[in-house]
Structures are given as structure tokens and as C-alpha cells.
Amino acid sequence: WSAFAPDFTELDENVKYVEKEGEFDLQDE
Amino acid sequence: EMPNTNEFFKVNQLKYRKKMIKFARSRIHGWGLYAMEPIAPDDMIVEYIGQKIRPLVADVREVNYTRKGIGSSYLFRIDDTCVIDATKMGNFARFINHSCQPNCYARIVTVEGEKRIVIYSKNLIKKGDEITYDYKFPIEDDKIDCLCGAPNCRGTLN
């Protein structure tokens, strides 16, 4: 089934996402 | 929500119940999950797994996914502080299709203080039936057509 989700990572448990500094930025000069 | 430990053991059994369901083409939409054996009512089927993110991070992602043409329907809101995003990582629970007349339902289970999403069977599921649950998407302006084909289909997912 992962063939149907390109560059998909299979997980066994939920993974807490570590946010980037620019997480909320749409554009950053 | 059931904080007791036997729930924890059950949730961990989830990993070993994958054989119960298989991934195959769906008549509802693309691909779906099917029961490989009869499933009793209120039985745990699979946990919906993905990345735990904050709701505003989910909002920003939804804008980016839509801009890239990626469906944003793999975002599952747990509560007002946490969303599970199975768009780029998770398990095959993300392939369970929606139905307006589902044979399963999603429940938030608290295990060791952590909220997790578990899909349960609603009624007896016969071998070969497609697993479905009601996504309960919030009502939005731009609609997504519902293809479940159930007699009481609402016509749209949101």
C-alpha cells in the first residue's frame, strides 16, 4: 500500500513533530 | 475515553491484528481496507497513526497541501491542542474510506495520558466488507463530493 503514497514513511506509533523556526512563515526574505 | 490498562493492552494488540484487514481497490474511492474475517461489534480494528502536530501547524499545512494539490483529508483533529497528520507518515488506517452509513467509528482513547485515535467496528462486519467510518469533517464552503453510495448519503464529506 505504501506504493500508493509517494515518499510516505510507515509508522508504528504516533510521532510528535518537532516544529521548525519558520513553521508559520509563508515567506521569509 | 477509557484510561484503564486493559485498554492499553488492547491498543497494543492493534499491531498484531493487521492480518484481519487487507488493502485493496475500493468501489468508494481509489483504495480501501477490507475485513479478512468476520469482526464482532465494538472490536478494535486499527489505530489511526501519524504525526502529532498543533492545530495551527495543521492549518498552515492544509494551505500548503492544497497549494501542492495534495488532499488534506489525512488530518485528524484529536482535540483543540492536537491533530494527527497522516499525509506523509503514518499507517494504512489513512486509507480507510468515509461512509455516511459506516460499519466502524473512530474513538479517542487515552492511554498513559496520551490521546490516540482508534477505529472500532460499529456492528458485525462480514468477511470481505470494506471498513468505513464517518470522517465527521467540519462543514466548509468548498465541498468534497461523497462517493460512499449509501442510501442515506449526505452527498458531501464536509
Binding site: 516544529e19 523556526e21 513553521e23 508559520f24 512563515d25 509563508l26 521569509d28 | 498543533r54 495551527l56 501547524v57
Partner: protein, 122 residues
């Protein structure tokens, strides 16, 4: 007396006893002051005390409607200034503002000027 508000802030931030020192980690979130302003020229200062490696802060001005579970400057209701490269942000757009940015140990000032127009109050 103006302090950081124990209520108008993200729950995951730690506010010290004096309500003048706030500590955050993981993702950006906001603590606002106990008082707002709506006309005239106002100024406050921040002493940037601790900056663990690879961490940054944003300070600025925000209306009450700007969400606290994001950074200041995320929406059109707030204006932020970032320690990384000194970029200014408004409505999620970052623009050049103060070359080089700022860091731990600096004292930073934020001024807002709200000209009062008696024909268009509020």
C-alpha cells in the same frame, strides 16, 4: 502595573512569579501584556536572558485577536521582530529589517505609534 498576562498567553509557556519573565520551548507561542494601548506612542523593553543553541524568539505588538498558539507576526493582527537575522514579520511574511538580528544578553525596545484621529476613533 503592566506585566505579562497570566491568562492571555499560551498554556505551555512558563511565567515566573514576578510575571515579568517568560520561558518557552518547542514551537512558537505567545504571551501578551496585561494592558493594551489604542492611541498615542508607547514603548517597552525586553531583556533577552537565555537563548539555548538553535533557538530564537520573536517580540512585537499584537491585537487581542491574534492566536497565542503561533508566533507574533503570524496573522494580520500582529507585528513581530525575530532574533534570527532581525527579520520583521506581519501576516506570515518576513521582510528585511535589522541586519544581523539580536541575541542573548541584548536589551530590545519595541515602540508603537498610533496616531489619534478623533473622526475615526477606535
Amino acid at each position: 502595573t503592566v506585566t505579562l498576562s497570566p491568562n492571555d498567553r499560551a498554556f505551555q509557556l512558563r511565567l515566573m512569579e514576578d510575571q515579568l519573565t517568560v520561558t518557552g520551548n518547542e514551537g512558537y507561542c505567545v504571551a501578551r501584556g496585561t494592558h493594551g494601548v489604542m492611541k498615542g506612542t508607547w514603548y517597552y523593553e525586553v531583556h533577552f536572558q537565555k537563548q539555548p543553541s538553535d533557538s530564537h524568539i520573536r517580540i512585537g505588538w499584537s491585537q487581542r485577536h491574534s492566536p497565542v498558539q503561533a508566533c507574533v507576526g503570524y496573522t494580520k493582527f500582529s507585528y513581530g521582530w525575530r532574533s534570527l537575522k532581525g527579520t520583521k514579520f506581519h501576516d506570515s511574511y518576513g521582510a528585511k529589517y535589522f541586519q544581523g538580528g539580536f541575541k542573548e544578553g541584548d536589551v530590545l525596545g519595541c515602540l508603537i505609534h498610533l496616531p489619534w484621529n478623533q473622526f475615526r476613533p477606535g
